[in-house]
């Protein structure tokens, strides 16, 4: 081999976060701190109607009464909520009609991330609603979508233009008082995406949003609302990268999915926020509430690849309310260095003949801690509910930890639940075999990890799968041991 393992390890340890750069765009930022005035100011700034301002204030009131949750298996210095600026918007013109008008520096940022807009437009056929520091700056393919009656815009736009839809559904799945971070998000959310697929429409392309946290010291509070009307289908992609920063940044998003009768939503996430340095300094706190509601015969499928963030606290869930509805959760969570992830899902079976599948792959390396926490609940009237869960953990090195906390609560005798979990390490003979075939250890690990994660990677849309595979490799670099 060209290098010894030691050398390789050293080189990789010093490798800096690839996407760690900072775009210098003039921003308009609110003073730090949080009080009712700030909440009202955010609402005014976004020219929101009165009911929305009230809704935010109600959430803020609830939030003040709440304590930060401590049950998760993660340890971190709690963020100071009074030291965060709750609004920051790029200072250029608020909306662009074509890419030419966009700040060239911003476009450059995207290029470096490998998500050049025009390339995506041409090749991938993806409509991208880019969110940079909380305000949507570009929406593409809007026209094509509009022809089908699909609404895909920023949530602030939706509040102004489709208040009836927003009013009906916002907070219906994740109420303002749901939990500490959801309440905070409800009070101060700055922007996010809104998507409505009308009855019987199959969305012709993958809808996608890229999030980045850019301005130093700003928390990002996204709010996503996806509504799939009866018999419709949509595949929604969400990808995240954030520049390297030394202080912890807070991200508390809320995602609500509503799949009405016979509708299907596929929601895929690739999360690669700054995980903190190799000594555990900095990194993003990712405290997200994601939940979907399935009506009759509806299906919601969550796929996530979590490689970033210093602390992740995330449980995309499905409420299987309608009969014959289906919930799926496919997840890969990779932690390295000092990263901590506590993630999993909740499948609440309420309707008859509901089915759910959970496949969770956890990979821990370095000094990281990776937890799976899930709940499968079968209510007494949920006849013939079916669940299959599988949580596999892969450990690399003897300083990391893998944990599983699966809760299973069943109140109906016709339920069939299977749960299995395994923990193991990469076999020495597997690596030896690869070495023997001329594949160096680092590559061999990537290969084996890819094989381990294949069940989940396969569920990702094509364009994402390639990126996700690359991410897996990047995040595990330096964990040979």
């Amino acid at each position: 081999m060209a290098y010894t393992e030691e050398e390789l390890k050293k080189e990789l340890e010093t490798k800096e976060y690839e996407y760690g750069f900072y775009t210098d765009i003039e921003s308009e930022t609110f003073p730090v701190g949080l009080n009712e005035d700030i909440v009202v100011a955010i609402s005014r700034k976004k020219e929101e109607p009165e009911w929305m301002t009230e809704w935010r204030l109600e959430a803020f009131k609830a939030w003040k009464e709440m304590d930060e949750p401590e049950w998760a298996n993660v340890q971190y210095a709690k963020p100071d909520f009074q030291a965060i600026s709750y609004y920051s918007a790029p200072n250029s013109k608020p909306k662009y009609d074509s890419l030419d008008e966009v700040d060239p520096e911003l476009l450059d940022t995207f290029k470096r991330l490998g998500i050049s807009l025009d390339e995506q437009k041409k090749l991938a056929g993806v409509a991208v609603d880019i969110v940079i520091d909380s305000v949507s700056v570009a929406t593409t393919f809007k026209k094509t979508l509009a022809e089908k009656g699909i609404i895909f815009c920023s949530i602030s736009e939706a509040i102004k233009e489709h208040p009836e839809l927003v009013k009906k559904y916002i907070g219906s799945i994740v109420p303002q008082k749901d939990n500490f971070y959801a309440a905070l998000n409800s009070a101060v959310f700055s922007d996010g995406s809104f998507c409505y697929i009308p009855k019987g429409v199959r969305c012709p392309m993958e809808l996608s949003t890229y999030f980045r946290i850019n301005q130093a010291g700003t928390g990002q509070f996204e709010r996503t609302l996806v509504i799939a009307d009866e018999g419709s289908y949509v595949s929604y992609l969400e990808g995240c990268t954030a520049p390297s920063r030394d202080e912890n940044q807070l991200h508390a998003a809320v995602v609500e999915l509503i799949a009405l009768d016979d509708a299907e939503i596929k929601y895929s996430t690739v999360q690669n926020w700054f995980p903190g340095g190799k000594d555990g300094v900095g990194g993003v706190f990712n405290f997200v509430t994601k939940r979907g509601l399935c009506e009759k015969n509806a299906k919601i499928s969550w796929t996530q690849v979590e490689t970033g963030s210093a602390v992740t606290w995330k449980y995309p869930s499905c409420i299987l309310k309608g009969d014959n509805s289906i919930g799926e959760f496919y997840s890969i969570a990779v932690t390295n260095n000092y990263q901590q992830a506590d993630t999993g899902t909740k499948m609440i079976h309420i309707g008859k003949n509901t089915r759910s599948t959970i496949i969770s792959k956890g990979i821990s390396a370095g000094k990281s801690q990776n937890s799976y926490r899930g709940l499968v609940q079968v209510n007494s009237r949920a006849k013939n509910a079916r669940n299959f869960s599988q949580c596999d953990s892969l450990l690399m090195g003897n300083e990391c930890g893998a944990h599983t906390f699966p809760y299973i609560e069943v109140k109906n005798k016709t339920a069939q639940i299977e749960h299995e979990a395994t923990t193991s390490k990469i076999g020495e003979d597997q690596i030896f075999y690869c070495n023997q075939r001329g594949i160096e250890t680092e590559k061999a690990i990537a290969l084996i990890v890819n094989g381990f994660s294949k069940e989940v990677l396969n569920k990702l849309p094509m364009e994402f799968a390639v990126e996700a595979q690359k991410l897996l490799e990047i995040s595990l670099e330096g964990s040979v041991g």
Binding site: G397, T404, E409, N412
Partner: protein, 438 residues
């Protein structure tokens, strides 16, 4: 006055009653302090999320029972494994019954906790072992420690084995309207020693009983301990069983728990592997009916490398019963080459039954094989139909399938007479007679 206050105020009276100069006096005082601080566990605590002790706390339990009339052996014979000869340590309403017991000091000590705690000749052993692995902050364990006075004391010296199995039986006579019992057992198997214990709690009338039992088991190098818990009490009896097992190199400890009776049963089974090449085995069969609640909490802490643990719990839940299984495996950083397996299979046979299960792994070492599996389902209709086509009535066919389901737990019972007894209990619980033993 609620139960907690009653217990705390009774502590003084209790202390005066027993020997204040006893070496465990400090441990008792420490323990009552902890209990005073923590009180009874509430559903807000993660470990007690699915089991509530609220209704029990409303009952005015007698803490110091009056001495009951002597029981006649022929009346209680059926509660013993009477087909074989055994050592017996028998308590009636918490008080040792010399008439029903058969203890020994012949090479091994099979006797009473009360004498071990007070007699100077046992002081050395008590100093080394008593209250050493029992939790010092779990509130019910400390409550037991505070009131620890009576129970079984078993000491098997190096390379010894008692001639016959040991039965520990607690009867409650119903002399008191409601009775709180707190037995405390200490079982020590020295190097190469081997023993078999069968423990049973039995109420003789339908008066309310709550037993809060603590058992400490120490298995030294190469020791083998087989412990069987038969929980088939009346529907007015509740049991909180806290068992702590400490294992040294190459030892094997097996704990079988058969839960068929009782109103509320909570088993806290904790294994600590303080050595290498240890095998820890936990098995259980739970069959529940009307309004019963059983909560199995297991913990295996893999502290040293090259050890194994096996857990296999089967549950059949009928009527409006509730079953809980919470198995936790912790593998420490240095405990490489650990093999830890956990299996929990459940069958719900009633619409009103509930099962909550949480198999939990916390792993800090990389070269390990850990797995857990958990299933909840019902009997296979096709198999049931097949048996019916062969002329087996539906009820018996169902029972047969349930037998088969529970069988790999029964298989590892090493006392044949006990196995037969448990088969009979299962048949009775399922309301069938299959005319054969498995």
């Amino acid at each position: 006055m609620d139960l907690k206050d009653k217990l705390i105020s009774s502590f003084m009276a209790f202390e005066n009653n027993v020997d204040i100069d006893s070496p465990v006096h400090d441990q008792r005082s420490e323990a009552i302090k902890n209990f005073e601080e923590k009180g009874f566990p509430s559903k807000k605590e993660e470990a007690w999320k699915y089991t509530s002790l609220n209704s029990l706390q409303k009952i005015d339990f007698s803490i110091f029972p009056k001495e009951a009339d002597a029981l006649d052996y022929k009346d209680v014979k059926k509660y013993f494994i009477n087909e074989i000869d055994t050592y017996k340590i028998v308590f009636v309403d918490g008080i040792y019954s010399s008439f029903l017991s058969e203890t020994t000091h012949d090479g091994v000590d099979i006797c009473l906790m009360s004498s071990a705690l007070t007699k100077p000749m046992y002081k050395q052993v008590i100093d080394v072992y008593f209250n050493k692995i029992a939790s010092k902050d779990e509130s019910l364990t400390t409550l037991n420690t505070a009131f620890s006075r009576e129970g079984a004391y078993i000491y098997i010296p190096k390379s010894k084995m008692p001639k016959k199995p040991i039965e520990i039986v607690h009867f409650s006579t119903g002399n008191e309207a409601s009775l709180l019992l707190q037995p405390r057992n200490l079982i020590i198997a020295e190097e190469n020693a081997e023993l078999q214990v069968i423990e049973r709690h039995q109420s003789l009338t339908e008066n309310e009983v709550l037993t809060n039992s603590v058992t400490e088991i120490f298995a030294a190098k190469n020791a083998i301990v087989d412990y069987y818990k038969v929980q088939n009490d009346l529907s007015t009896a509740s049991l909180v069983d806290n068992t702590y097992v400490n294992q040294k190199d190459d030892s094997v400890v097996k704990v079988h728990t058969f839960s068929f009776g009782g109103k509320l049963t909570r088993n806290n089974l904790n294994f600590f592997q303080n050595g290498e090449h240890i095998d820890s085995i936990m098995k259980g069969v739970t069959i529940l009916g009307e309004k019963q609640h059983v909560d199995h909490h297991t913990l295996v802490h893999h502290i040293q490398p090259n050890c194994e643990s096996h857990q296999d719990y089967k549950g059949i839940y009928g009527e409006n019963s509730t079953g809980v299984f919470n198995g936790k495996i912790i593998v420490d950083k240095i405990a490489q080459k650990t093999n830890a397996f956990q299996q929990n299979n459940n069958i719900l046979v009633s619409d009103k039954a509930t099962i909550n299960t949480k198999p939990q792994l916390e792993i800090f070492a990389d070269d390990v094989k850990c797995s857990h599996g958990c299933t909840i389902g019902q009997l296979d209709d096709d198999a049931l139909f097949y048996l019916q086509t062969r002329g087996i009535p539906k009820k018996e066919a169902r029972a047969l399938m349930m037998y088969a389901f529970a069988n790999n737990v029964l298989e590892s019972v090493r006392i044949p007479e006990l196995k037969t007894r448990i088969n009979k209990l299962i048949a009775k619980k399922l309301g069938v007679n299959l005319g054969f033993d498995l």
